[in-house]
Structures are given as C-alpha cells and as structure tokens.
Subunit: 240 residues, 2 copies
Amino acid sequence: MSDTDRSSLVAPAPAEAAAYVRDAHERRAFCTLLGRCHVAYDGRTTSHAGPADRLVALKPDLTLLVHAADGPKPQNWLAADALDVDVEDGSLLLTATRESPTEELRVTFESIEQAAAMAADETDATVEISGTEADLKERVLADPALVEPGFRALAAERDTPAGPVDVFGRDSSGRAVAVELKATRAGPDAASQLSRYVDALRRDLHADADVRGILVAPSCTPRTRRVLARDGHEFVSLEP
Amino acid sequence: MSDTDRSSLVAPAPAEAAAYVRDAHERRAFCTLLGRCHVAYDGRTTSHAGPADRLVALKPDLTLLVHAADGPKPQNWLAADALDVDVEDGSLLLTATRESPTEELRVTFESIEQAAAMAADETDATVEISGTEADLKERVLADPALVEPGFRALAAERDTPAGPVDVFGRDSSGRAVAVELKATRAGPDAASQLSRYVDALRRDLHADADVRGILVAPSCTPRTRRVLARDGHEFVSLEP
DNA sequence: CGTTAAATGTCGTCC
DNA sequence: GGACGACGTTTAACG
C-alpha cells in the first residue's frame, strides 16, 4: 500500500475527493466522506433531502449509505451494482445505480470536510447470535412440557398448505396441537398466522379433526389476545 | 474550530484515538473509525463477532454503528444514551450503553487505520418521500372509481374495534366496503388484516351486515390470493 | 409509555 | 428469481 493510500483527506477539492473515492472503489475499500451534501433517491419510492452535514459511507460491496445526525437508520441507502464518481459544476457527485429493481441514489457535495478509506481484508467475521426464535424452538423441542404438561413435540417446521408450523405435536389426551413461536412480544399477525395453520391442519388431518392452536411467546398484545380468543386458541408465555 | 479539530488521524495510537473520539463525542460531531476490531452486543439478544476490518461510526445523537464489508445493514448498532471511551490492554475500547431496554455494545480495536470527525450543523434536513401508502390513499380518495366503477369513499382511517380501516366506503349497490391499501406487493398479512377489519365492521354495523373486503396493492402473492378467496375478499391492482 | 401498522424495510431459506 | 417468515427489525402515529 502506498503512502497516498494510507492518507486521509482534509477539506479536499472536489476533483481530489473524486480521485480518492474512485481509488477506494477500485481497491474495494471502505470509504467515508464527511461533508455538506444533498441527496436524491429514485426507485421503490422517490425521495429528496436538502443540504445538510452528513456522513456518506461507501462499502467494498458498493453499498452506499447516507447518514444524517440522528437515528440508527441511514437517511438514504442503496445496495448498488455500479457507481459513478463525477465532478459537476464544481461539486463531487456520487451516482449509485442498481438494476432489478431499478434504483438510483445521487449524492451531491457542496463541501467535503473529511475523506478516509481502508482496504478491507477477506476475513469472514460472521456474527453469532443467541436469544432468537430458533433458540426458543430448540428449548421447546428439548423440553416440550414447557408448553404444557404432557405435551409431546412430534415435528418442527411441519408442512401444511398454509406454510410450515413451527412445532407440531399432541397433548396428553392425544389431540393434535399446532404451536406458533415468537421470540419477542407477539402481535395480531402471529395469531392470524396460527389460525391459518390450524385451519390447514384441520383440513389436512381429515374432516373436522380436532386441532388446538397455541401461541408461545414472552408476551402478547391485548388485541392479539382477542384474536386468539375469537379463534379458540391459547397463549403460553415463554422466553427464548 | 482549531487546527487539531479539523485533522483526521492516520494509524493513531490507541490513546490518541481515544482522545479524538472523546473530543468528537463532546462536540456532538460525526466520527468514523476504520480499523480491525471485534464486537460484542448484549441486550435483546446476545451476539459476538470476531476480529475483522470494519467501519465504526459514531453519530452526534450517540448512535453507534458497526459495519462489515458486506450489506446495507450494520453488523451491530446501538442507539445509546451513554458512551465510554477507554484504552484497555493497549486497545481502544468503545462501550455504548442504553437503559430501557438494557443494552450494551462493545467495540474493541486491534488496530486503527483512520479516524475522522466533523461537527454537525443544526440543519434539519428532512427527507421528502413519495410513492408510499399515504400517496396511494390520496389517489384512491381523489378518484374512488380506481377501486371499482361506482365506488364511493366515505372515510379514511375509519375506526373499528380491530383497528382503523384504510378506506371505508360503499359500492354502486350501497354495500359497505372495507379497503386495505399496500404500497408494495402484498403478502398474507395484508389479507389477514383485511379479514379482521371486515369481521369487525360486520359486528359494528349491525348483525349480519353485508361488508365487502378489497385489498388494493400493486400486486399480491399466491398465498395471499388463497387467503382472500377463503375469506371471500377481492383484490384490485393499483400503483401508488 | 404502550400499541399498532408501515417500510426503499433487510435477511435467510426454500422452492 | 420469487415467495415466505424472522428480525436486536426501526419508525411514525395515536391513545
């Protein structure tokens, strides 16, 4: 890596910044720009944001992110498959594009305070996560009595015409049970999902088969309770 | 702003970087760090990611973002309400914390290639977006015949015990109609939502009132079609 | 502060 | 490549 590569730029001229970003792009490096810019997006929706100080980040995979001062979400972003770096009317202009869906993100800088870049290594640093719905499923399969005494888990991801049921089993009296799992507080969608699965199982297992539905989650909202009650299903509180 | 404030750092020592980040934090500036680090999160779940080259960004509102080389989403993030900047065992350590919910994000740098910062102005640069569900609603209210000839829109966001119906109206023969809008391709949840509203309206308007349900979206998935058919509802294709 | 529904959601997985 | 459901979803609107 040359000395130039290792340097960042302070208050660069647009042409200098353009060369820097192009170089970063070619090296598949991270690149950050801090400065005043305005932003236009056109694709799934259309948006425009006026001039303000922002953080613009270009990632090795051509993801372009535009962050304003507030909030964890970027104001605009694009997982692009092409990037143009130009100087227009004396301003640095980044144009990121993507096909399928057709999208375009344009960032125009009025001024640039800082530019930095770093070539990324090839290390695959996957994130290990625990405490998810998959963990809750493992818990239930390992100890089905957590759902209710006498419950036997017979299958995970059991297929139905309405989609896979998280856990399928039978209660102590032999009745079929569909279990829908949520790792976080459950909303009405979870209850609707459970109803679809139970209906499908009733048809699948044979006419008027007796199928119970149980929603398992740390908690659920009141409206979810009402949907469950309306459809004759139950709720069991369980942490992942 | 002093000369030091305007400078970025190239390959700084941990203590130097720590002072730089603390200063940025105090000035409520954007700050970016490019370097090799590992990351640990504990809160809603627990996660850990081993050493790799990453982009770490600190925003004026104390949002901490950790980006790996791929993908538009940060690998880890935290909308923090406190940040500690320390040097431990010769490494820069950022510890962002939040209460309610209790969360912690720790970033430990093995090496730092670049650090940059920029104080943010106070400009409130809101993003103007069009092509959303709100736009689709305006379209339907302005020209209800887009839903079907003779349709009259009587209310937007009409309240029901199951929540507000996007558009409520009557068809050419006077039958009540609930319209559920989606700006993008609709999935099964949209059909379930519609069913809940129609059921609530039937009870609300009087026993066995005749209420039609129409899902309006650019398109919908096959399973969504089946849910609509099962519940006797309809689909109308319309762009926002 | 809790609940609810939208989102340029994004991401993995399976077909 | 589409469909489907999870996600540390985040965010805005409303009571």
